[in-house]
Symmetry: C2
Subunit: 112 residues, 2 copies
């Protein structure tokens, strides 16, 4: 089984779990109560999040608190960033083209 961050965040339920624990650690049950699938299903999602490093579990008595490791998302951020330049450059050149076009129209207007 593949277990990378990309695959982990592909599932909407797992993204939701991450969102829930992003600001505040929650125990397993509290998280699963917010979904309409079984606790076991949520537990499995958490396992995947843990295995790819997006989450860590800290035992506290009989409860286990889930803490988000959002730094791990930098892996995704980095991958996206390598393309950000390309797509913004393209948008820039489109913008430049439009500006050029506009300037041309203006000078043509001036010639009337």
């Amino acid at each position: 089984m593949r277990r990378d961050v990309f695959q982990a965040i592909a599932d909407p339920t797992r993204r939701e779990i991450l969102g829930m624990i992003a600001h505040k650690s929650l125990n397993v049950n509290t998280v699963s109560e917010n979904f309409d699938v079984s606790r076991a299903a949520i537990y499995k999602h958490m396992k995947i999040l843990t295995e790819c490093g997006l989450m860590v579990v800290k035992q506290q008595g009989r409860e286990r608190y889930c803490e988000a490791k959002l730094e791990k998302l930098s892996e995704v951020a980095d991958w996206v960033d390598q393309y950000r330049k390309i797509w913004t450059d393209r948008l820039d050149s489109l913008e430049n083209y439009l500006t050029l076009l506009q300037a041309k129209h203006k000078s043509e207007d001036g010639n009337k």
Copy 2:
């Protein structure tokens, strides 16, 4: 079937395809020749990329050129960005804490 950008980039082959056509549009066969799975398999990956808006196909004679729509990745970038502040803030506070600790040690040294 779900067909969102997150799910699309979850597969390493699809990420590779995106990388191949990021700078330059390529026709279907050229892309598939670079993988050791069948053309049909690659075609399916392309279909997914197309369906979620990460790619568009432009017919040219009997060939079809695949063009990457990297802007679509902004959806992922935005999602990651909402967490970036949280994780950098945490790292910042850790850094501050360490700085504080260091300053304290220094002042204690001074008291010796």
